[in-house]
């Protein structure tokens, strides 16, 4: 085993660290998420030029054929700076769905060049994080399909060039079979978008589809396995981002404890706060360990992979609730303000805890596997 970075991975990490240092100071980010609408075409063009958008794409689609470890390296650095552009929704989640569904290589290649920004519209309010629950329906119409239903929390939807929408071509909402994937144009008739700003100031939308024209991608009815694989990749990317965000929050807090004076001394001299910070570090490193572990299981059979993903997300959630939340607490009042960075780390971390399945959702998924195994053994 070797947990260190290769020379190429080190170069990748350094290049992103240089980018965020140059373009993602706290003040620049604040301007971007307010006046800038939470998306910079210039930054996106940089992502394309640097090859970060094509990192995980296969070589036959103009990509660099990088691994999920490379993606995690990008996300960790983005997490430190709270990068708000939708790298995960586009270059990880949507790209993986399109690759595995066998979509047109030209569309996949266009992600890498920055020309296309497809995003996945899969989640529904009633699913509450369960990937296999799809109520949206697809009906044949001439040579094509028409979709009707509603999708929630479609990340980066206001910046999307294509929507990848999951819908049922057969079966009931909870059935594993019968989920298909479709491409929908943002200006398609019957598609309504209601935009929202999220707690971390990124943007998402609710989509309503009313007999909306759509084009099937991949095999009819076989979409769920593709979705599950893509969300496993996305969960690792998200947790790598959380590790970066917690790491930055931890050291920012350490620095604050060394400088903030009360009762005539730096508050970092108080043993109760030293122990708190020690526990924050322990939580952070447990989280990081689980990201490595999940990466090691990403290509395992789905049941094993999903246990590893859930285990990781549970640890990340616990680490966020301690390390992320205590970062605000130890800053006191200043941690509560919009004008200081630590509160923004807290917001992003809180969102990550609640995204792609909460601790409760993932504990439930692990527990369900125990009972399924027990029934098979009996």
């Amino acid at each position: 085993m070797e947990f260190g970075l290769s020379e190429e991975q080190q170069l990748l990490q350094d290049s992103i660290a240089r980018f965020v240092e140059r373009e993602y100071s706290f003040d620049k980010r604040q301007t971007l998420v307010t006046a800038g609408g939470a998306f910079s075409e210039t930054n996106w063009a940089t992502f394309a030029e640097m090859g970060w958008l094509m990192l995980g794409l296969p070589e036959d689609a103009g990509g660099l054929g990088g691994t999920p470890v490379d993606t995690a390296i990008v996300m960790e650095q983005f997490g430190k700076a709270l990068v708000v552009e939708p790298y995960l929704p586009v270059a990880v989640l949507a790209a993986r769905v399109l690759i595995d569904a066998g979509a047109d290589n030209r569309l996949i290649a266009a992600i890498g060049t920055g020309e296309a920004r497809p995003v996945v519209a899969h989640g529904e309010v009633g699913a509450f994080g369960t990937l296999g629950w799809v109520e949206t329906r697809a009906a044949r119409s001439g040579n094509g399909w028409r979709l009707s239903g509603a999708k929630s929390l479609v990340l980066a939807a206001p910046f999307a060039t294509h929507f990848i929408v999951s819908a049922r071509t057969s079966g009931e909402p909870r059935d594993a079979a019968g989920i298909s994937l479709f491409l929908v144009a943002p200006d398609a008739a019957g598609l309504t978008r209601q935009d929202a700003r999220l707690a971390d100031s990124s943007r998402a939308s609710e989509l309503t589809l009313d007999s909306c024209e759509a084009q099937l991608i991949g095999s009819e009815g076989a979409g769920l396995a593709i979705i599950e694989t893509a969300f496993a990749h996305a969960a690792i990317a998200l947790c790598a981002e959380a590790v970066g965000a917690m790491d930055k929050a931890l050291w920012t807090t350490r620095d604050y404890l060394q400088t903030r004076q009360q009762f005539g001394v730096a508050i970092g001299t108080f043993q109760s706060l030293q122990h708190r910070m020690a526990d924050m570090l322990i939580e952070l490193e447990m989280a990081r360990s689980q990201v490595f572990r999940a990466l090691a299981h990403l290509d395992a059979e789905p049941a094993v992979r999903d246990q590893a993903i859930s285990s990781m997300k549970v640890q990340i959630g616990r680490s966020i609730k301690f390390t992320g939340y205590q970062a605000v607490q130890l800053h006191g009042g200043i941690g509560m303000t919009e004008e200081y960075l630590i509160g923004h780390h807290f917001k992003r971390l809180h969102m990550i805890d609640n995204a792609l399945g909460t601790v409760g959702t993932h504990l439930g998924r692990m527990a369900n596997q125990y009972s399924a195994q027990n029934r098979r053994a009996a």
Binding site: F263, L273, E338
Partner: protein
């Protein structure tokens, strides 16, 4: 021992509830339901309404002679419970429970009439100027100065000239007066602190908004640059301000657990969990989710009965415990846990920001969603404000356990 509420207390509860249902303005209830901070114009209407006809309900802890209703601690607690159950705003705690009692106890009758009279009628707003950038948990380290000089007016009275900065001033942008702790004896530490009223509109006062992570403008930073205030605005004696401030913090011990708010928030959590479904099943019927609500309910029951013990403790101190600190620690942490679950139970809709001035329906989500994310963010401060939980634990360990 007697573990029952008496019939008079139950009748009192119904009396308050009936009055609120008949008199609480619908527009104020609509705002209070979502837990947004009310602008002073709304709070002023509310104070005026609660005090109308000399009822004194906006000052539930004041005696009849002071203009209050003369309620028992238990009645005050019941009043607070019913307010939040009925979606009524809380009272203006800063005056009712902080500066009001100080002025009533240590101010002159002229000051009581001049300061508290207009507030009682909803005409003036007071905000607190205690904390400073370098004096938070260590409040005695304040450095804002007040120097006594001959006054400029013809009445011959002296003035104080104030210089310094104050921070975390709630509602300071609406204030007419700031009640401030200032240094009047630069050599002494706690003994050199005085309590003085500073006119908010005086020359030299700058109020800088602080937007908190809930995206609300409630907090402010104050800058005093040679601000004059009359010596007639000094409350009580010079250099006694620290003693006054400490005395009232001790009066607040039973309230600091916020048991009624915790109870209400748990009801809200259950309502969300009944409405939201996962794969067709209401969250509240999911055994794992319901068990987590049950854990919070058990925590709440502990807090409530600890609060009841504090409320019924005899004035002489038959319950020798650091009650305020115990309740503050548990109550604040529970508020954070319940609001975390509010957001989790909202599912996908828990991520969307709804601000106070957003048009209803402009943000996707159920009609009870606005305010929940804002309140979750704001409640991160509960373990920081009012004496951080770290300070409370130190009080328990040092002052009670003798460590």
């Amino acid at each position: 021992m007697d573990f029952t509420f008496n019939a008079a207390d139950e009748a009192f509860r119904e009396e308050i509830r009936a009055w609120l249902r008949a008199n609480l303005p619908a527009d104020i209830a609509a705002k209070a339901r979502h837990q947004f901070h009310l602008p002073w114009t709304d709070m002023a209407r509310w104070v005026k309404l609660l005090n109308a006809d000399g009822k004194g309900w906006a000052v539930p802890n004041w005696t009849v002679a002071q203009g209050g209703p003369g309620w028992t601690l238990m009645q005050q607690y019941i009043f607070e419970e019913v307010l939040i159950e009925e979606d009524a705003p809380q009272i203006d705690v800063g005056v009712a429970k902080m500066i009001g009692p100080i002025v009533n106890n240590f101010g002159s009758s002229e000051q009581i009439e001049r300061f508290l009279g207009p507030w009682y009628r909803g005409e003036t707003k007071f905000s607190q100027g205690f904390s400073e950038p370098n004096a938070g948990s260590d409040l005695a380290a304040i450095s804002t100065t007040a120097v006594r000089v001959p006054g400029l007016s013809k009445d011959g009275g002296d003035d104080y000239i104030i210089n310094g900065r104050k921070i975390w001033t709630s509602g300071g942008h609406f204030a007419d007066w700031f009640y401030c702790l200032v240094k009047t004896d630069m050599a002494a530490k706690q003994r050199g602190i005085s309590l003085i009223m500073v006119p908010a509109k005086a020359p030299g006062v700058t109020v800088r908004p602080i937007i908190d992570i809930s995206e609300e403008h409630n907090l402010n930073e104050l800058f005093f640059d040679d601000v004059r205030t009359s010596a007639a605005n000094l409350i009580g004696e010079e250099n006694k301000g620290w003693t006054y401030a400490k005395s009232l913090l001790e009066n607040e011990r039973a309230r600091s657990g916020e048991a009624p708010r915790n109870r209400r928030y748990l009801q809200v959590l259950k309502a969300i969990a009944r409405d939201r479904t996962r794969c067709g099943v209401p969250l509240i019927e999911d055994p794992a989710f319901a068990a987590r609500i049950a854990q919070l309910e058990s925590d709440l029951n502990s807090l409530e009965w600890m609060t009841l013990r504090a409320l019924t403790a005899k004035a002489g101190g038959d319950l020798a415990l650091p009650l305020g600190s115990i309740l503050k620690v548990r109550g604040s942490e529970l508020l954070q846990k319940i609001t975390e679950m509010h957001i989790e139970a909202l599912g996908d809709h828990g991520h969307y920001v709804h601000n106070y001035d957003d048009v209803p329906g402009s943000v996707p989500g159920p009609d009870y969603a606005p305010g929940l994310l804002t309140d979750f963010m704001y409640r991160r401060a509960t373990t920081i404000y009012g004496g951080s939980n770290e300070i409370q634990r130190t009080i328990i360990a040092r002052q009670f356990l003798g460590l």
